[in-house]
Symmetry: C2
Subunit: 322 residues, 2 copies
């Protein structure tokens, strides 16, 4: 198979990528600027740039578009389906993505619980055994969104001895394994967070969740509670979060995602007390960097052997469902 990577940034990863695609041909091109190599490609591995119907028209041999990661926004899936092109993504579980994001959520919870910034000030002042932090143990924790990241987080948090509250659009039987202490549907999210010391957002950004977390939500949170967001910034109304922090409706927050990325270095939120920020590092880790291309390479092998690819978004639309 002839596999085209959609931008030249991927070339920096060639030492990881190329051994995984043994037996296939690989090229890299910035397809946003130059579509000429699309004609050559059997498979397109796509980053974050758009892949439109027009671009597809330059790719007569294309059999599959593989998203590098989960999010396929920006791919014209309908156009692909119409031409019989598989559109596949890489599931976040077991590829280092969900695992990494869950770990960064726990990092933020521990930074907040232990008062890490204060501890660093205390070191400089020569103070030990201070600040008096919190344990996660015995605290009530609400996870909003039980997709791959939420489920991965829940399974790691429960053994800390927390009381676990789960929120999801609807109940799924697989949640039984999480041993949740309580479950709410997303409609009741404002009720779910009452009494929780930590609230972690792990839900997908959709038209329904955009701006979901606003003034009412923060008023329902306890005054000594912390918000952690490892999902997408636009789920949270920025102005509502800032006023909740300023007015003491909540005690602090940890954010791995920001409304503008990269943020302005002088954005005041970077220096608010009890706010911890990391630069969207949840999914950026050693395992994801191997796990994602390994999954894609496996799909390339599958279609070259005439099998259906895995994690295919449009398999039913193109009439090839198993």
């Amino acid at each position: 198979m002839r596999v085209l990577f959609s931008n030249r940034n991927f070339e920096r990863l060639r030492e990881i990528i190329e051994p995984l695609f043994m037996g296939h041909e690989i090229k890299y091109a910035n397809i946003s600027e130059d579509v000429s190599l699309l004609e050559w490609a059997d498979v397109l591995v796509r980053g974050t740039e758009p892949f439109t119907a027009e671009m597809l028209s330059f790719a007569p041999n294309l059999k599959m578009v593989c998203q590098w990661g989960v999010g396929v926004e920006g791919i014209d899936i309908e156009a692909c389906s119409a031409k019989g092109v598989f559109v596949c993504n890489v599931p976040s579980s077991n590829t280092g993505n969900a695992e990494g994001v869950a770990e960064v959520a726990i990092l933020h919870m521990l930074l907040l619980a232990k008062g890490y910034n204060k501890s660093q000030e205390n070191l400089k002042k020569g103070k030990v055994f201070s600040p008096r932090g919190l344990t996660l143990w015995r605290k009530r924790v609400c996870i909003v969104g039980l997709g791959n990241v939420g489920v991965t987080l829940a399974s790691r948090l429960k053994p800390f001895g927390v009381t676990l509250v789960g929120v999801n659009r609807s109940w799924k039987d697989k949640f039984d394994a999480l041993k949740l202490d309580q479950f709410f549907t997303l409609d009741d999210v404002n009720a779910a967070v009452k009494g929780c010391r930590f609230v972690v957002l792990t839900l997908a950004l959709t038209p329904q969740t955009e701006g979901l977390i606003g003034h009412e939500f923060f008023k329902n949170m306890d005054k000594d509670a912390f918000l952690v967001n490892v999902a997408r910034a636009n789920i949270v109304q920025r102005e509502a979060l800032e006023s909740a922090l300023r007015e003491g409706h909540i005690a602090g927050c940890g954010l791995d995602v920001l409304w503008k990325e990269p943020p302005d270095p002088d954005d005041p939120i970077l220096n608010m007390p009890n706010v911890y920020i990391t630069p969207h590092i949840g999914g950026t880790n050693d395992e994801a960097l191997r796990g994602i291309p390994a999954f894609i390479a496996d799909n390339v092998n599958r279609i070259s052997e005439g099998k259906l690819p895995l994690s295919c978004i449009n398999v039913t639309s193109i009439g090839k469902a198993e």
Copy 2:
């Protein structure tokens, strides 16, 4: 019962302490400076100052010495036994101590894994999706010392999907529940750490473990591995650790304990790259602050009802074993 707290710092906690000791009388005194209240006391609750045979001779009514926490170094246990005085400590599990220390160990592991300091520099430079950190997921982790803290840590780490190596003086059947992937005795600790990405010290400081972690240990660690110490600083030879960091025998370390506490604010270790330090906050948390006096109050109630106290160090020596 008349309960004397051994130093006036405890007075700052009276709002937490006194409701727990309802029905008993409470006083506070700096017994290192003034022994006069010892005569009054049925029970002594002791902080970290010495409690000697001479001091005991001023306490004719004393029935029990309760350590605030685990460590009873500095109490003349033999003298207490000879006079029929129970010496009790507070076990670290289920009182917020072991739980808090295990959480701080995981905080350090995540700070190191995610390159937290570098992430903060990147934020200031306007860089996102960087640094490329590690997952704990799929890494090999060695826990050296499977006492209460080590066991508490193991049960929390295993669900992160790590390969878990345990080291202890000897095997105990209760370790079965930890689902360790491998076990070594303490004699083989240098072999145990080979191939591990994280090594966490959770063992007690004893004459056998003092200075245990030296040059040979660091040479056996992988060059890309991290050391986390949440036990006692003197288990590690400072000079060996510093040269291991400087010469690249290990990739970094996280320390909740230091050889001198508080450290000099200009101690160079506070500013070494890839070194994270917290000011001995493992056991300093909201739950321990309630859990410890609650356990002691329960023991005071027990002896006032004629029962044997719990977690008694010298119960056999004074011939009152159950």
